[in-house]
């Protein structure tokens, strides 16, 4: 029979892991430590759970399935962590992730005390790995760290007080390093080989009649061979008629699908477009063409080279629209980039760029995540970035030069939309940043 504090601790560990694995296809625990009775794995949520005894299952052929290999405390009892990761790599695919649960190396004396005071049974771990160590080992073994969570500050529930501490501490600067354990998600660096994945480009358009034909023309000129999906939303300038005309005109050269949204807003348009897409990779292109379609091949290349499973546009050069506005806009962008970086624990240069690229299989996972989390984002940027971070996809920014629009006017209202973004960031702080509780 497990002591109560241990049961509670295991539930906290499982809650942290489940936030990610709930949306994966399976969890495989590898190299269970001698003292592990399977309680953590049992409490983890995932469609399929296994315990690998002799070797990890071969995942190297998985293209859309996601398998999480769980190393719970394993590295603390292992003499050759680099070798362990190296040996695993040939059996992993680019969608596999390794979830490493490790003790806080700076609190090893607590562990030692707990053993002395007989609070805990088992043997003293031999290996204590700091984040610097882990990053270096990842680099040597060909992996990349994509997520890092610190959790479990108080292993007792204490009538809810312990739970409160466990929830709040991850957001407290400096003190957050006092966690007893950490969860690190690493991804193997594997470039795409073999089959070239197909691409669907979704273009949400509202009052963008003059940009429809140039968009198609310029996508054709890049030669990336994609399917284009226009989603029109309540335009008053004849955008829909123009889309239909362009679809007929270019029918022989490119597959164009066109839909009219019932709902409102860009997020709704993107969802409709993505649900109708048939490609393996899904990209969003803004119809105002401020992000030049010529750069779309860069997004595909960033994915194909294995830099990340989620590619995020980053606007670092802005069109001149009068110094004051430009300055305010830039401030807002920097603020939200920093805030979201902090909330998600993923370094982002820009979180409000419309252009993104994601695998369709991951988008379906993001939809499942959204059903659990609830609708909170009318713009559609955060509802992709949040799950991309939580799922440990690995995010890379592709810097783009932002061009001034040549047709129409912006649909953005700075201050009102700024407040909405602030609200969304705060939701992220409470629901993503804070510690997960059982």
């Amino acid at each position: 029979m497990l002591p109560r504090w241990k049961r509670y601790s295991n539930r906290v560990v499982a809650a942290e892991v489940s936030a990610t694995t709930r949306y994966y296809d399976r969890v495989v625990q590898w190299m269970r430590t001698p003292g592990d009775d399977g309680d953590v794995l049992e409490a983890i949520e995932s469609p399929q759970k296994e315990l690998a005894e002799t070797s990890i299952p071969d995942c190297s052929n998985e293209e859309s399935r996601r398998t999480a290999i769980l190393l719970a405390g394993t590295i603390n009892h292992h003499y050759d962590v680099e070798g362990l990761l190296r040996d695993m790599k040939p059996r992993l695919s680019r969608t596999s992730r390794v979830l490493v649960i490790a003790f806080n190396p700076y609190l090893q004396w607590l562990y030692w005390l707990a053993l002395k005071l007989k609070l805990k049974a088992g043997v003293m771990p031999t290996t204590f790995v700091t984040l610097t160590d882990l990053d270096n080992i990842c680099r040597l073994a060909g992996y990349e760290r994509v997520r890092f969570r610190q959790f479990l500050y108080c292993p007792w529930r204490l009538l809810g007080l312990g739970s409160l501490i466990n929830a709040l501490m991850p957001a407290v600067p400096f003190l957050r390093y006092l966690s007893l354990a950490s969860l690190t998600i690493v991804r193997p660096l594997i470039p795409q080989t073999g089959r070239r994945p197909s691409l669907s480009i979704v273009i949400p358009a509202r009052n963008e009649r003059g940009n429809i034909a140039p968009a198609v023309e310029r996508i054709l000129a890049t030669g990336i061979g994609a399917e284009v999906i226009f989603v029109e939303g309540h335009s008053s300038d004849g955008t829909w008629e123009e889309i239909e005309r362009v679809r007929t005109e270019y029918a022989s050269r490119i597959t164009i699908k066109a839909f009219r949204q019932d709902g409102r807003g860009k997020a709704d348009a993107v969802r409709l477009g993505f649900s109708e897409a048939s490609g393996d990779l899904l990209a969003i292109l803004d119809a105002d063409l401020t992000m030049p379609p010529e750069l779309l091949p860069r997004f595909v290349a960033a994915w194909a080279e294995g830099n990340a499973d989620f590619v995020n546009g980053s606007r670092i050069v802005y069109p001149m629209e009068g110094e004051a506005m430009r300055f305010l806009n830039r401030l807002g962008n920097v603020f939200f980039a920093k805030a979201v970086t902090w909330v998600l624990g993923v370094r982002l240069g820009d979180c409000l760029c419309g252009t993104k690229l994601v695998m369709r299989s991951d988008y379906e996972r993001m939809c499942r995540w959204r059903r659990d989390f609830g609708d909170f984002d009318p713009f559609g940027d955060f509802e992709l970035l949040f799950p991309a971070a939580i799922l440990g996809l690995g995010i890379v920014d592709v810097p783009i030069r932002y061009r001034a629009r040549t047709y129409g006017s912006t649909n953005i209202r700075r201050f009102r939309h700024g407040l909405m973004l602030l609200r969304m960031t705060i939701i992220g702080l409470f629901r993503v940043k804070l510690g997960k509780l059982p």
Partner: protein
Amino acid sequence: MRPRWKRCFYDVIAAEISAMTRHYDRIVQWMRVPGDEGYPLDAIDCPAKEFVEGSVADHPKEKIERTAILLSGTINHHDDIEGLLKELKSKLSRSSRVIIVAFNPYLQWLCWLALKWNLKTGLMPTTLITLTDVDHLCKLAEYERVRLRHAVYCPWRLLGIGSLINAIMPAIPLLRHLSLTSIIVIRLLFPSSDTPPTSSIIVAARNETGNIEPNVEPLLGAGVTNAKIVVLDADLTVLPELGPRFIDAWATGKADFINGSSIVSPMEGEAMGLLNRLGNVFFAKALTWVLGVRLGDSLCANKLLTRADSDRMKAWRNGFGDSSFSSPPRSSVSASSMCRFAIARASTGPRRSAASATVSCS
């Protein structure tokens, strides 16, 4: 005639760059921005200096020597940095480093003010990139950032006060981000594989009769034979079997300086183990802060570097003075301050002997 503040500004930048290029073979400035009168390059200390005009495509590939490619302000006036870095790639060798001098993106309004008040001539920079942007760009173009220095806080000498500010600010937490420019050094990842180099292994030994033979045997098996230098401890606290892993980390282009790191705690005498470990952690963190290079362990004796770089370190040491009597910190300092090396670490195995040589000597 350039204004005095501008001279001071570029002198500080040149001094920062010289700290490393002094020990390089050559520095080449590429893609000079309009308005650059060749000043930072003039003041830089390096055995050979040149600047080249025209597009990147016209240049020959760099040879295997330490060449620094200087991009001074270039990225602040460029439309496509990812494309530029990718284009540069075909011209670089493993030992080339790209030195980027860029404005602080958060102080762009200062640049704008300086232009308004005619303190400064030229164009407003179009591209202002943050460190996050640089790191993402490096990832996309397969580079790695190996050094970052904040430079120039006060572009006036002010009878020495300005110089004092410029000297002290880089060590002040938070405020150090207020520098006018940053100097970023990046290296190419995944260099094309040359022929596998030969290795020499240096085993430092004192009173270690019984450990000499066991040290050599595993290495013979690994095909280690003479251009790289591996330092091993004769006390066998680090398994010689891991020697090949050091070489592999070098050969696959992970870094040009491979540093051992003991992460497995010694099991002998808990108290001593803990104290030792505390000391190790303290010095690892302190050196990480001083050098600006993330190190997990600064006191592990096992290292791997090329002979050419070892010779450069010797030259650096002559200039710096022999401040360290046990070799590890010294080589790390030179490695970092010359900025030639990215340091990757090979995790080392458990300590085998009951007490390590350092402990028994002291």
